[in-house]
Symmetry: C2
Amino acid sequence: MSFPSLDGETPDKLIARLAAAGRAAQRVLARLDHDAKAAALRAASAALRADSASILAANAEDLVAGQLAGLTPAMLDRLMLDPVRLEAIAAAVDAIAALPDPVGQVIDTSVRPNGLALSRVRVPVGLIGIIYESRPNVTADAAALCFASGNAVLLRGGSEAVRSNRAIHTAMVRGLESAGVPAAAVQLLPTQDRAAVGAMLGAAGLIDMIVPRGGKSLVARVQADARVPVLAHLDGINHTYVHSAADPAKALAIAVNAKLRRTGICGAMETLLLDAQFPSSQAVVAALLDEGCELRGDSRAMALDPRVVAAADEDWHTEYLDSVLSVAVVDGLDAALQHIATHGSQHTEAIVSEDAEATERFLSEVDSAIVMANASTQFADGGEFGLGAEIGIATGRLHARGPVALEGLTTYKWLVRGSGQIRP
Amino acid sequence: MSFPSLDGETPDKLIARLAAAGRAAQRVLARLDHDAKAAALRAASAALRADSASILAANAEDLVAGQLAGLTPAMLDRLMLDPVRLEAIAAAVDAIAALPDPVGQVIDTSVRPNGLALSRVRVPVGLIGIIYESRPNVTADAAALCFASGNAVLLRGGSEAVRSNRAIHTAMVRGLESAGVPAAAVQLLPTQDRAAVGAMLGAAGLIDMIVPRGGKSLVARVQADARVPVLAHLDGINHTYVHSAADPAKALAIAVNAKLRRTGICGAMETLLLDAQFPSSQAVVAALLDEGCELRGDSRAMALDPRVVAAADEDWHTEYLDSVLSVAVVDGLDAALQHIATHGSQHTEAIVSEDAEATERFLSEVDSAIVMANASTQFADGGEFGLGAEIGIATGRLHARGPVALEGLTTYKWLVRGSGQIRP
């Protein structure tokens, strides 16, 4: 397989050409009803299943190239497809097809004294750019989410997965076309030239929104360089605060689950705040240590168990994504709120408490995308929130916040129905 | 009055210091209920009235300086305050105080099968930067809108109005402080140094959103340079399409009102599309010409009246903001939709028609922030929409679209109430 260069076309011209095609396709897509979009997505998932041999063969080539290029075992695992993973990708497309359609939903209505009838109606954002790393499942997942919400999409995956992404894209587009959808509704950047990524990021007015999916450095680079609005998910430095009135058994179970169920997800707890008046802190700390978690604490946390090591300043603002946890003992709710305001990343925070007043103050005053009471921060997930699937968990403040699914890929317009009104 | 320089502080440090103070004040402000915010705003409007002599004196100095600097009469008029205008400014603050509070509104709720109770609740955006030109009323208006929605604000007005802005700001802050609000909730940039504007635009993570208020060149510069999300209002190249089944009297009244009621507002019609099958085009064109409007048309529009002059290519994408209108004759709804998709700026478009099917297709297929049927585009206004006041009419697609009032200055957070749930 060749890796096409830009063939003499400048990156800006390439992106302008692809964007124009995508925008034209989106105007067709915007008029499809839910049944038509769902049928097209099911045709795309059927094509993924029909092409499984060629997709897995392309993936095998990516894996060989990745081994030669010295990818780590973790990177190779992220890249690897097998029949089970490929079926999961196709099933995810079917699940997205079954989600309620946000397009056309009426947000609110009003009638003005002069008789003008106003309504706000959800419409697609338009053309969405997705920039991602080596997981080939993102190709199908992001394409399906954008399509289901009426958006055209321009995909740019990582070079490691280029053959896999092309095979997945080829299958999906064939499926969509068989259902009468223009191929340009889902486009994969035809080059891995990095200048084309730069052109995507600069394509204000052509691309309506960029969603980076990947590690912190990818997201940070996209945010730094983009002239197009970015829906970004950055660090999840998530806190769980065990209040003095916490139920000890719940506190222990939630702390262990929030940290250790899966340490590598953005909803994992990274700092545990133990109230100085909570009587069972020792048991919580011991349970985490017994499960093999490294604890880095302040002096009072170190006094709870000799296995707790000293935390450095940077531990309080580190997203470990590993079996490591920072632990501080705090004097009451206000100190916990202050710690979170100082060190948190406004992703997900939780309180464990049986005290309704303290709980509601925490829910009200913590300024994070997700604030929980008596639950594990690992629930920070679009699927767990009933959204069906997510394009990411947004840590910015505008447009959409927290888990972003189909609704977050829409905007709205105002409809005004009159009977000849003119403005005095 | 002196114009403080940066006094040795770098622009970035100045903005970081002001932003930190603003963010701290915002955390206090976020906890005020509607009554407390309304009382503080009424104290601010009372202070504006109490300080009317000093505000008008400061404004008189600005006017003298403006005359010496050669400002045009139109610019001087925008700058000028008198007792009537100042009372209108104070009354607008009172009106904003009386608006419903978006903060704390519950957007939606759900209960998951595992018992987790989810809700999305509106919260302030945080710290908002407003960059504006010579109208001193924006100082009070923007401050009140940001404050009423729980946001701290950092204001940077035009140099022409610097004395007026300072006098208005001084009065409002004294009023807010008398109601117990920290002064840093509403800050005016203490320098007119342009480097400080650059630092505001680059203050990603410190300022949550920038709203430029002013002419096209200001907005374009802010959009080009900002690393902070921008809520921008750009061109309103608004179309009115008179369908074949339009009521002739409504078509005539709407066309004249949409163009000529006030030509300088962003909701004014700039292009009239007359259906070739509409029988009364000649009367509509004659009425506009008789009212003194210059019409620039395509060949078929020119054939309607000898006073119609030939349109150049650029007329189809020009926002005149004057008694000038481009006029095209189009062959049916699809041609009108195509013209709007090609030349529109996605601000406000209207159809005039008694045909329900054509009307609904137009409302559905035109991709503008505001789409109207049988009404004048001059209704594109937050007040007319019942929003009470607006910070602007957003022409971007994300976060908020069309007239942006208090709700558009909020975001949301997810609250999750559990009873000890851990994720399997």
